[in-house]
């Protein structure tokens, strides 16, 4: 009897080697042991594997199973744009200066009415910086040496901080010849100070406060907790009754971090799982458990902060860590199974 063309046996090519090479090793294993995804959740294994088979204490006829757990990967998304690379900085400045060289002259009279204070102000500024663009430094694109648009070593023109200062300085100091060092400031003007954006590095960054949500603003931060045994990991708990992963995730968040967190559990499907085998089978409810599987749900924190007071899961400590800081606290096996569900930035 030959296998039908869409059957799993056909895919495996008879001798267990898959024809379709897009099947990964773990899936191949699960297909070959004829377990569907749904029945994995039911978590009843048919036979123990020879490598991991520990000394069985119970009778061989008992069913083997995994204990099911739900976990939550609670994250705070990046709050600010990422830091530009040196190449990007110089590329953007190059493009801005090139744009000045290639574009038509600025139509001054369309933006500044003749004889108004703003026009006088504009004239003074263009005299000092030579170009209508406010953030490219002192550079005249229409001169014969307009080709000399590359900045020299150590120049600050391409730095975002310098660009910000120039744009804000343009607002707050109306008539100042900054580039030639001449102070032609008008009386009574120039007192206004434009509000600077908040610093990219916060107090928590400087003090190294790993529990603060205000740290590492340009990275995604993940909540990792330490349980009673001193192990770090994402918050997790056993599934209770017939609750779904989504509901379990919401419950775990409340039971770990308290009600003072505004969170959103993203979607109904897990983003990854962690498998842990027990050194010995554990008999529980008619089945003996080989190990445990933790399915992680993705969640976002919108506001609030974790508070471990009176938590029901025996959590002792928590930290908000970026991706590359997590392997420093969790063990390497846990990290190898969970790292691919975390965002690179």
């Amino acid at each position: 009897m030959s296998a039908p063309k869409n059957s799993l046996k056909f895919l495996l090519g008879g001798n267990g080697r898959p024809i379709n090479s897009s099947i990964c090793r773990s899936c191949r294993k699960s297909i070959s042991s004829r377990r569907q995804y749904a029945s994995t959740a039911a978590a009843v294994a048919e036979a123990p594997e020879s490598i991991h088979s520990p000394v069985t204490s119970s009778s061989p006829s008992t069913q083997l199973a995994y204990a099911l757990r739900a976990g939550v990967v609670l994250s705070r998304p990046p709050q600010i744009t990422r830091t530009l690379t040196p190449f990007e900085k110089s590329f953007f400045l190059y493009q801005k200066r090139l744009n000045e060289r290639l574009s038509l002259p600025f139509t001054r009279y369309f933006y500044y009415r003749k004889g108004t204070p703003s026009e006088i102000d504009y004239k003074a500024k263009i005299k000092s910086r030579l170009t209508p663009a406010r953030d490219i430094g002192r550079y005249n694109p229409y001169l014969d040496d307009g080709w000399n648009d590359e900045v020299l070593v150590g120049a600050q023109e391409s730095e975002p901080e310098d660009v910000m200062e120039k744009l804000l300085g343009d607002v707050e100091v109306p008539v100042v010849n900054k580039f030639q060092g001449e102070q032609e400031q008008e009386k009574g003007r120039g007192d206004a100070v434009a509000a600077r954006p908040a610093a990219r590095e916060t107090e928590a960054d400087r003090t190294g406060d790993l529990r603060s949500l205000d740290r590492a603003l340009e990275r995604t931060l993940y909540l990792v907790v330490r349980d009673g045994k001193g192990r770090w990991g994402f918050p997790s708990d056993v599934l209770v009754g017939k609750e779904s992963l989504h509901l379990a995730a919401e419950r775990i968040l409340v039971q770990t971090g308290g009600i003072n967190m505004n969170t959103w559990v993203v979607g109904n499907a897990p983003v990854g799982y962690h498998e842990h085998k027990y050194p010995k089978y554990v008999a529980k409810g008619g089945v003996s458990q080989i190990g445990e599987k933790t399915f992680f749900m993705k969640a976002r924190i919108m506001a609030g902060q974790a508070n471990l007071e009176g938590n029901k899961l025996g959590v002792e400590d928590f930290q908000w860590l970026a991706k590359e800081e997590i392997p420093k606290v969790v063990d390497s096996f846990y990290w190898s199974q969970t790292r691919n569900m975390l965002s690179a930035r």
């Binding site: 953007f92 744009n99 290639l102 369309f110 070593v153 993203v266 979607g267 930035r345």
Partner: protein, 346 residues
Amino acid sequence: MALPSLRHPAQRSLRKQCHQCISQMNSPRYASTAAAPIDELEQSSFQAPELPSDEANQFDPVGKAKGRRKQLPPSRYQFRPPKYYRGPLAPYQPPPSSDPSSREFVPGPFSLPRMGETYKSTIAQDMMTLSYSHVIPGTPQPAAGQRLRTWDGDSPYFANRPLRAPKGGHVLRPLHKRITFRNVPRLEKITVHSMSTEAGSGDSAYLHVTGMVIQAITNVRVKTHEARTTVQQWGLKKGKYSSVTAEMKGEDMYHFLSKCVDLVMPRIKDWKGVKGSSGDETGNISFGLDPDVVALFPEIEVNYDMYPPKMIPGCHVTVHTTANSDKEARLLLTAFGLPFYGKLIN
């Protein structure tokens, strides 16, 4: 058999590459977190050690150019591409539009748009998680059947006829594809369109103002369009220029949308959001902005007096996404901060 052949030099280098691959796989490497060891990278000027300061201070390209007594020999780079394309057989082919010497070159990008970064770091991942549906790898995909109808009947004229269009219309809607990491919906482009009936009936001043306004708020050159037909009710005459469009992509698109979402829309009075029934069923969603809303754009506000107040136009904005359905497109735009109201269709 296999082992002796490995002694071949090419094979050995292949093996070496494999070893490099394996060593890279073992050590985690992310573009944003840890840089690769320098010796693995290609040589570039960024890795060069910094010049000593006295040597750097002596570098003066303009002074050097001015101090040159003889003129440099003419170079081929002074050649300007011809204004008109002379066809594929012409001896000289113009440079690609990405070349700064090309006549079609447009400089940019000038910045890393915040909204684009938010999409990459947050929105795309959440959308993928939200719309995930599990399929065991290797499961054969159900084949999409013939969606066009055949001609049933005895008529001899049915032979060799092209298939019939779907029922209820002649347009075949795109098939919905499962969302994976390869095809998470993203913004493709934004089109802003504005028609002025007065321009269509002869007064071109309106069209000039419309063009200036749309150009100011979108940062791209507008295209003008002439009326294809005469429409009495709208005052359109065939062949008269009556509307302008601007098409934005990339950086300009993200800047325009964030201006709309962060600066303009919060200031519209009694605005409920974009109508939930908007959209063309294939993931492109449109909304309109009234003249007084267009006047709220910062580029117009900064010199509002310069525009004739009665000539400031309203406009239609169409957001093109790569989503296959309006539902996914709305999900994307909601994540960007665009609210929807009323009955949500498709």
